[in-house]
Amino acid sequence: MAIIEARGLVRTYRSGTVRALDGLDLSVPEGTVKGLLGPNGAGKTTTVKVLNTLIRPDAGTATIDGIDVLARPQDVRRIIGASGQYAAVDENLTGLENLEMVGRLYRLGRKQARARAAELIEAFDLVEAGRRPVKGFSGGMRRRIDLACAIVINPRILFLDEPTTGLDPRSRLALWGIITDLVAGGTTVLLTTQYLEEADRLADHISVIDHGRVIAEGTADELKAQVGGHRLVVTVVAESDTAIARQVLTRVGHGPVHEGSSPRELEVPIDGGPQALQTVLSELSAARVELHDAGIRRPTLDDVFLTLTGRPAEDTETDTTEENR
């Protein structure tokens, strides 16, 4: 049996009107990283909270390392580490004190808890800040303390809900390094993320969630293959030419034409590869459409996300930054 197993999880809010989880199944083999992707409100956080014993589902079952999460939550807590979507730290304690407290509450005893706290503060590059109350920390620093709290015992199973949201690129890379090391040491990780690159880099398996269910599952490559072959992208010089370009792409491509990062950039899934590009180029040049750029690219997780959920992946910098106070 997989180390994390969930079957038919249902969780409703507001007396049943919101179905945050609607029959969700999940299975994570030991020693692997599972990435949960999905648009805002898909049910990622709710899934994590059910598995890390914070909330009880209305229906369904879940086991962690064979332990029934609903029947024996306390035994589950002994072997997991968790970092929620919002940093859960004591504002009035220093970084070190927060970590020491968590170690003591894992029952490590004062000495072991202290030593571990000092070690983590260093690993997360918070040595100077570690002696000040968290109150004065930046969002990213607070986040790092929270993440450090989650790995105090080198847990066998680690839950990370949007761990790198709000971190600067350097801290993000460092955290990826720590996660990779933990996994190499045998830790199983369930992480949610808004950064598809992060899922691509870290996750062995990805589950795409929408409306409280898993709508697609597989490795990043499998998912990319599912959404079809290459994408053909052209950028026209004059905005007035987009209509003609759109017609050409519709004819040549196999699927809907999407607007790219600017209104003058259009893209469409194709079957043929280079031939399709040649066709498009000659037709556009016959129509005297001037191009900035044209080319073929392989599908990304963004395409997976867009195709499966009908929505582009969130731009997290705008509305889900870690800082909520």
Binding site: A88, N92, R107, R170
Partner: protein, 283 residues
Amino acid sequence: MSTAPSVRTTGTLTPVVPDGLPGLLADGWTITWRNLQRLRRSPDMILFAVLQPIMFVLLFSQVYGGSIHVAGTDYTDYMMAGIFGQTVVFGSTFSGSAMAQDLKEGIIDRFRTLPMSPAAVLIGRTNADLVLNCISMVIMMLTGALVGWRFHNGVPSMLAGVGLLLLFSYAFSWVTALLGMMVRTPETINNAAFMVLFPLTFISNAFVQPQNMPKILEVFANWNPVSALVQAARTLFGNVGTAPTGDTFTLQHPVITVLIGSVVMLLIFVPLCVARFKNTSSR
């Protein structure tokens, strides 16, 4: 963050504290310690614990003392029990606002994913109120002594009075802790405390004698639990003198009333709090 993490990512960190009672005590102490750190770092609480009692003792003894006369005893002796009662009752509301604050800040979610004893969060919280109230008691008694307050029934009885005040306030902390987890906003708890507890402490025998109030308020004051608490303390400190006492059971037998009341409060609210805590999540 260094890109080459120096953290041990393998190897075991083994629990050394056994489950059961040792675990509960260790966790309770850890959370108490955590709350005391908070206390140490927020001057407003220290202000409340130290300055407010001093201010009340001085105001009532020096400003009102000259104008208010109570039958059967000296006013300074009379009102000190009132200030003790009022202060510890208000001191107990910190558990409510702090539990609400903890929920708001999300730290409760951290605690709830840890293998700690769930009761420890509440024990640690109410313990912190108890420490605060102990400090307040000492400050008030010293200030009271300065302005002429004396206890007249001997040291054991005086200590019993202090103990009873603290027991009641400890039990009441569990009540406010439950409220805090239910309303989840610290401001609401503070406002409610002000709106409910101020009238409650003033329409009582804390600072004046109920027989001089309008009839309806007198009846209220005589049945008011704060009156029973104050009367119990006043009795144990030997500050009643020949002052007339309301004829309700609660005022005729204040010590036993407060003792039983506190134990009943604990028996009801400790399990309620723990059950509530186990089912609460920050967001």
